[in-house]
């Protein structure tokens, strides 16, 4: 198999592949956005004082973290219609399943970030008369967020790679398009090689960006310079 042959397949199916890439990227972003919010709610739930709130939140997080994403996908798409009586199209099911998985990991990421904030910060905020929701919003979360960011971005990389399984419920992502090309050309080796390289390049871009951003973040020391805008 020559390089030209491989490139030929890339070129011939460029529209299909580009559509696939578009779907993959869109899926990963949608799932991640949902997971960022749901994960925060779940995380605050696991930190709640009331056991009635805490127990279901912990159960949710553990369930998300300890079931394979493929199982979650099939479960959401084929079991939810009977269990909860709600039927989603395959794209929505994919977003939900991917978000389910990521939200569990993000909840843990958030919890670690929140618990890393010094107790003195919370006591200072309490002494100034802040209630728990206010001190979370104004003091703890902004500081914790900076520390969580590398973890959140890494989870995005994981989520991105996980999207490749959604083809099994016929979502037209990159992997699904590859399957179509294979059935049209009967050339699994070059096509799947081309797809592997495409995933590799995409993920490389994302994870390099993550690494770059993580290095840019202030390591604990925070903002070292003056802010010149009006206070």
């Amino acid at each position: 198999m020559s390089f030209n042959r491989l490139w030929g397949i890339f070129w011939e199916y460029r529209d299909v592949l580009l559509t696939g890439i578009g779907v993959t990227v869109a899926l990963s972003i949608a799932a991640m956005l949902l997971a960022v919010v749901v994960g925060l709610v779940a995380c605050l739930g696991t930190l709640a004082k009331s056991r009635l709130v805490r127990a279901p939140a912990i159960l949710y997080v553990e369930f998300c973290r300890n079931t394979p994403v493929l199982v979650q996908l099939v479960w959401v798409h084929y079991a939810w219609p009977e269990v909860f009586g709600i039927k989603f199209d395959s794209i929505t099911s994919s977003v939900i399943a991917l978000a389910l998985q990521s939200s569990g990991y993000l909840a843990e990421e958030y919890r670690a970030g929140i618990e890393s904030i010094e107790k003195g910060q919370i006591e200072a905020a309490q002494s100034l008369g802040m209630t728990y929701p206010r001190l979370m919003r104004r003091i703890v979360l902004p500081q914790a967020f900076i520390r969580m960011l590398p973890g959140i971005l890494n989870q995005y990389v994981t989520c991105f790679k996980s999207t490749s399984i959604v083809s099994i419920i016929a979502v037209p992502d990159l992997m699904y398009q590859a399957g179509l090309i294979v059935s049209a050309t009967f050339l699994p080796m070059p096509v799947y090689t081309a797809v592997a390289i495409t995933y590799f390049l995409l993920v490389l871009v994302v994870s390099s960006a993550v690494r770059y951003l993580s290095r840019k973040l202030p390591a604990g020391g925070y903002f070292q310079t003056e802010r010149h805008a009006a206070a």
Binding site: E118, G120, A124, A125, Q126, L128, I139, G221, F223, A231
Partner: protein
Amino acid sequence: MPPPDPAIRFEKVVKRFGPLEVLRGVDLAVPGSSTIAIIGPSGSGKSTLVRCINHLERIQGGAIRVGEVTITADGLESGGRRLSGREIARHRTGIGLVSQSFNLFPHLTVMGNIVEAPTGVLRWPRAEAVDKAMALLRKVNLEDKANAYPATLSGGQQQRVAIVRSLIMDPPIMLFDEPTSALDPELTGEVLRVIRDLAIGGRTAIIVTHELRFAREVASHVVFMEEGRIVEEGPPEQVLGVPREVRTRAFVNSILE
């Protein structure tokens, strides 16, 4: 305005951390507008005593009366009614706490640190809070640091900002928990001056400190604690000058040496 004379009274206060009894039935009256210094070896319970006043630590026995509010093992009550979380938070706005480790918020500028509670908790207009903050920063010689982040300040500067952050809400009670213990010796002077000249100012103040000279200078009453009990209390000349108790004498001498 809060009541003008918010005396604090401890009645047989007991505090435990698990099996460890940190306060073993402490009785102490703090008259309104007076300044009290608490001294004693580390682990004697003096910091814990102060932190119980604004309910950062729960007590297991006895009662603490702070103005209209009574703190017991069951929580806070006023006029026979339990206070909600929100009311406890409101109660704390009348009690400034300056701690050993400053605890400035690192993601906010000096100005942001100072106006956070007045604008967020007390709902002052921002401009009013900023004006008052600038006036206080001038008094502690830090007006040029308003837009700096805490990480760029020295310990002494950070502690002065922390004091201003409490003072801006004009609390009738100020608590100082070893305010200079984390500072380099050459920086303690500037902080002690601010405490003496600005922070105490007619308020009810309790200062936990190892600075005996300072205690003697500002306090009307000195309390010596050891192992969760008050061993000796009285005017500074007596407790620090001619202590009656052997343990007080040993402690005072160990510090002065």
